[in-house]
Subunit: 139 residues, 2 copies
DNA sequence: GTAACTGCAAAATATTTGCATCCTT
DNA sequence: AAGGATGCAAATATTTTGCAGTTAC
């Protein structure tokens, strides 16, 4: 299903190269978040570390992916949904990081409750990350 | 006001050394969170980089401070409130990252709403990070 | 053909570890 | 005095930069 990746790249004005296609494809198959090292390990081909950095950077700039703040401060990247645009994320669901298997998944069905901030604070983006034990590991 | 720092150190079974006192004092004076480099730059004295690492590590282990997950690479540390104990954080408040001034603050008065996860997921910790424009920058 | 992407080497940063010395209790 | 904390040196790990060769359009 690399066709989907190609289309996404084109739609975001990124030239379609093998590395970008394979890395984006990994995100598309994943339904979850990936760390830099996940990508190095799991991509269909071995890419230079630097290429991974630059690819992620390009995806971030175009708003194709976004970073997820996790309690252990390891940076994870996740695909943006369709309605994310450059610099404007509406990533309204909760992310879950499993402390056993290390996977990060998007809980699309759990939406982030809205909160009231003190006067003067303006909200651009809200991230909610739950850590614990995931469905597969809690059995 | 290093007396307060000394007391906090003692209460947490940490020996009172000059470095710990000065670094903890910085946290006490500070409204908001500090990164490693903030500490190196702003501490009353120059401490070895390694000492700062080890001091933060010790504070973390004793539950004196906690880390704040941020979407960018930078790990930030903030003082825990009184009711945080070793290994047991009641870190139930929202964190706010200002995109204008770059400061990170704890919104102690805004608590994280509880959410229901799908069957099989076990929650250990919940983090909620809001980014946007802070009170000082929105005027 | 041109501009952009890639990989390699290397530089710059960040973090961890070992050890001898100094400080706190 | 004893154990722990500190600073320095050095080992690792991570991220960035420069450049020449290659690829996309």
């Amino acid at each position: 299903m690399e066709a989907k990746a190609d289309e996404l790249l084109r739609r975001n004005q990124l030239s379609v190269t093998n590395g970008r296609r394979k890395i984006l494809d990994l995100f598309l198959r994943q339904e979850g978040a990936l760390s830099h090292s996940d990508i190095e390990k799991r991509a269909a081909e071995k890419f230079d570390r630097v290429t991974v950095y630059r690819t992620l950077q390009a995806f971030l700039e175009k708003g194709l992916i976004h970073t997820i703040p996790t309690a252990d401060n390891s940076i994870r990247y996740a695909l943006c949904r369709e309605h994310c645009a450059e610099g404007q994320h509406r990533d309204d669901h909760v992310h879950f990081v499993c402390r056993t298997c290390g996977n990060t998944v998007c809980l699309e069905e759990v939406s982030i409750p809205s909160i009231r901030l003190p006067r003067g604070f303006v909200t651009t983006q809200v991230e909610m990350v739950v850590s614990g034990t995931c469905k597969n590991c809690s059995e």
